[in-house]
């Protein structure tokens, strides 16, 4: 008598303990891998939210920036919670008002200076751990989880845009975590930008009635910033370095 043997389709699935554990490992990998990978590459939630089709930038009109106004600085302090303790040498300074005086003519102009969000950021190049990084939309940030506080990015920044947190910090904002022993700088209010809002400094400048700061997408030819850049002459700080900053100045 011939015994019928089940064909492949008829074979009952048997799950051994090894298979079960293997499946569990695969499931865990699927769930955890994106997060682990993000961490391993020095990423953050902010990095993931970036839109590669945009390049955020600022246009600052020095002709409209009032020398005695620091609304942008105050707004940044309040928004990101970095107000100093009265020692300008060691206090952090995400944005500052700078007066530029033409050596040849003596003409003076005032303007805010912050991280210039370079296309070729030297701070990102030199960072040994990759904590300094540039998002796909051009915003340059510090991953606070993997910054070891070596300060090489501060040595490399041509704009003095980065600060080291010298003291313990309190009353932090949940959207702008800070920590003693790490480096920080202007985030272009990335938390607001990702919500479709504009940076606090731009909002404050407009509210103060100066309208010296315009925020927008440099890759969108129909954005206000692109139109103005196309219409009027503008420049970057340290244009000799050819870093192509996202922050542009006019009427310097």
């Amino acid at each position: 008598m011939k015994t019928a043997t089940p064909g492949p389709a008829e074979q009952l699935p048997t799950v051994s303990r090894r298979d079960f554990l293997r499946s569990g490992a695969k499931l865990a990998s699927l769930v955890l891998a994106p997060g682990v990978t993000l961490m391993a590459f020095g990423g953050s939630e902010a990095r993931g939210a970036a839109d590669a089709g945009k390049r955020w930038g600022l246009l600052i009109d020095a002709g409209k920036c009032a020398p005695d106004c620091s609304a942008c600085v105050t707004a940044c302090e309040n928004e990101n919670g970095w107000k100093g303790s009265g020692n300008p040498e060691t206090d952090v300074q995400w944005i500052r008002k700078v007066t530029l005086k033409n050596k040849a003519t003596g003409r003076e102009s005032s303007m805010p200076v912050m991280c210039q969000h370079c296309e070729e950021p030297p701070c990102v190049d030199v960072c040994p751990t990759g904590a300094s990084f540039k998002r796909a939309d051009g915003i340059v940030l510090v991953d606070k989880h993997i910054c070891i506080g070596c300060r090489y990015c501060m040595m490399a920044c041509p704009f003095k845009a980065r600060s080291f947190v010298h003291e313990r910090v309190t009353n932090q904002k949940s959207h702008a975590p800070r920590g003693v022993g790490t480096v920080e700088s202007c985030t272009l209010c990335v938390h607001r930008v990702d919500e479709g809002r504009i940076p606090a400094c731009v909002e404050a400048c407009t509210a103060a009635g100066h309208g010296a700061m315009v925020f927008g997408d440099l890759l969108d030819p129909d954005s206000e910033i692109s139109k103005r850049l196309a219409q009027y002459p503008s420049t970057a700080l340290r244009p000799d370095l050819d870093l192509n900053p996202g922050v542009r100045y006019t009427e310097v």
Binding site: R96, V124, G149
Partner: protein
């Protein structure tokens, strides 16, 4: 006196050695306390600011790292360039190199804003960063010099491997010092850096600093252990030191003359050479005169072989000059204001356009000296537990090897 074979022995513990070890341990403890103090309070208790972000710890750390690669030169001269007279010193040269590098790296790590995140540095690498390259170069240096020592000390290894190992170590140390110089040479942001000459300048500095430290450590160890140390050997080493000091002066002159020729760098040169206050004083008085011209005069000025005393003084002066040179490069380069926009003077409440003040605090100096103590203590422990120091370095004993 009969000529001995080169016999290596662990140095004996005696009262003077114990006193020296105790002093070094005390300095290491001070460095450790300083580290804990800075770590607890933040860098607010140092003299470093947002303008001068690297201070005394970096001066000491880079001094030790340069000395480490330079200290290996004695071994390289024996193995790579076949100068047999230096062969008995090759083991000490290797151990001292590793010890100095360990001391320098300890200072660098302990000065980090977040030294507790060292594991992050070990697991996250940005290979575009010259810092990352240096981490690999430093780690590789310890491994390669360790292997080089093993090849020399393990009798089961055929001596034919000594030269290839020495050659790899020599090339690696050149790469290491190139990397260290490029930490500054590749910085486009500051007018005091951004110069390719930084790499060869740092190599030249490593030659002179490493040799000076080697001479001092050799003299000290021989005094503690009772090892006979030949005057001609020390004179020969000191003569070589004079050559290295000359090369450093040459590169320094080229560095500043090149800058003076370019109008965009004139401001920085005027600052360093004339108007820089402490930096100008350190440059001319300590770096050039005390650390350069005077050691050269001490070495070249004696017709007879350089005496032990002169060798000691010349080496100490070179160390002093090297520290001053690194202070001028590292701190002076940051103190000079950055140019925000060519052709414009910048001013702000954030010290734009101003020469930044820097007053090193006691904790950061203690941290740096603690690193030096760690390096010397480690070298001493190496000489105590390993057979790296010959029992007889007298001239008669070495003459046959020349």
């Amino acid at each position: 006196m009969a000529i001995d074979r080169t016999i290596y022995r662990e140095i004996p513990v005696n009262f003077p050695l114990a006193i020296a070890a105790g002093c070094l341990a005390a300095l290491m403890l001070c460095g450790l306390v300083a580290f804990v103090y800075i770590e607890h309070h933040g860098h607010i208790v140092t003299g470093m600011t947002n303008q001068v972000v690297w201070g005394m710890p970096h001066v000491f750390a880079i001094f030790l790292i340069l000395s480490a690669s330079g200290a290996l030169n004695v071994a390289s001269m024996a193995s790579v360039f076949d100068k047999q007279v230096y062969k008995p010193l090759a083991r000490l040269s290797g151990v001292l190199a590793i010890a100095l590098l360990a001391g320098g790296l300890a200072v660098l790590v302990l000065d980090l804003g977040r030294p507790d995140r060292l594991i992050v540095q070990i697991t996250h690498y940005n290979f575009v960063s010259i810092f990352t390259w240096n981490i690999l170069l430093y780690s590789g240096f310890i491994v390669i010099v360790g292997a080089y020592l093993w090849v020399q000390m393990d009798r089961s290894v055929h001596p034919k491997w000594v030269r290839p190992a020495g050659l790899v170590a020599f090339v690696w140390r050149l790469a290491l010092t190139t990397g260290t110089g490029s930490i500054f040479g590749w910085l486009v942001a500051r007018p005091g850096y951004d110069a390719a000459i930084m790499a060869p300048l740092f190599i030249a500095m490593s030659f002179s600093l490493g040799l000076a430290v080697f001479i001092l450590v050799l003299q000290a160890l021989c005094r503690f252990s009772g090892c006979l140390l030949g005057g001609a050997l020390v004179s020969r080493l000191t003569g070589l030191l004079g050559l290295c000091v000359g090369v450093v002066l040459y590169f320094t002159a080229v560095q500043h003359l090149t800058n003076l020729y370019a109008a965009e760098h004139t401001g920085f040169e005027v600052f360093t050479l004339r108007d820089g206050g402490i930096y100008t004083i350190l440059f001319w008085l300590v770096q050039v005169i005390l650390g350069g011209v005077l050691p050269l005069a001490l070495v070249l000025g004696s017709a007879a072989p350089v005496s032990m005393g002169r060798a000691t003084v010349a080496s100490l002066l070179v160390v002093l000059g090297g520290l001053a040179q690194l202070y001028v490069i590292i701190v002076g380069g940051q103190a000079y204001p950055q140019e925000l926009f060519p052709g414009f003077e910048a001013s702000s409440q954030f010290q734009d356009g101003q020469v930044a003040a820097y007053h090193p605090s006691l904790p950061e100096i203690a941290l740096g000296i603690g690193g030096v103590a760690l390096a010397l203590f480690s070298a001493g422990v190496g000489a105590k537990v390993l057979r790296i120091l010959p029992t007889n370095l007298s001239d008669q004993n070495l003459a046959a090897k020349d």
